[in-house]
Amino acid sequence: SQTIHQWPATLVQPVGSPLSLECTVEGTSNPNLYWYRQAAGRGLQLLFYSVGIGQISSEVPQNLSASRPQDRQFILSSKKLLLSDSGFYLCAWSIGGIGETQYFGPGTRLLVL
């Protein structure tokens, strides 16, 4: 069966510091991968998605970037964090194709101070 991992679970970082969040998927090949951010009391906002190694699409202009160095690894990064980057970051995967379900990881709680 497929599993998705995210780490760290919680992170407290000062403004201006760099960021690296990692997501890995097990039990499937060539998945579509997604990064979402969830602000308190709000729905999930799609940040990036990837259909293959090195293929990244950005949904919203922002202080963040994403990379996919391996088939089942997705990384969310920032060179300098802003206060507004605080939130709950979720990684998800799907097998691709119309109407296919996205399955979410446990999330990373990021607090920028």
Partner: protein, 109 residues
């Protein structure tokens, strides 16, 4: 513009008191409507996918239905363990999901 609106924002029920959550959407060419359950501090857990108007799916005390403009999540005789935030999302072009803000459900014993 693709939009998903969930109502109510919050719902308090007594154990055994059945009710429904609403998800209305505007999207060109619906490819799928998804319901997820999210517990505090955790990632969303998949519940249902609906593809066409008239479709219904059930799982334990939950039943999801779909019309051309909205979906309902019916909860029959809820228990305290059904307390969670329920999220609705619609798929648009490119396998991208647009999420509603969610309904926070609290079931008291």
């Amino acid at each position: 513009e693709d939009q998903v609106t969930q109502s109510p924002e919050a719902l308090r029920l007594q154990e055994g008191e059945s009710s429904s959550l609403n998800c209305s959407y505007t999207v060109s060419g619906l490819r799928g409507l998804f319901w997820y359950r999210q517990d505090p501090g955790k990632g969303p857990e998949f519940l249902f996918t609906l593809y066409s108007a008239g479709e219904e799916k059930e799982k334990e005390r939950l039943k999801a239905t779909l019309t051309k403009k909205e979906s309902f999540l019916h909860i029959t005789a809820p228990k305290p363990e059904d307390s969670a935030t329920y999220l609705c999302a619609v798929e648009k072009y490119g396998n991208k999901l647009v999420f509603g803000a969610g309904t926070i459900l609290r079931v008291k014993s």
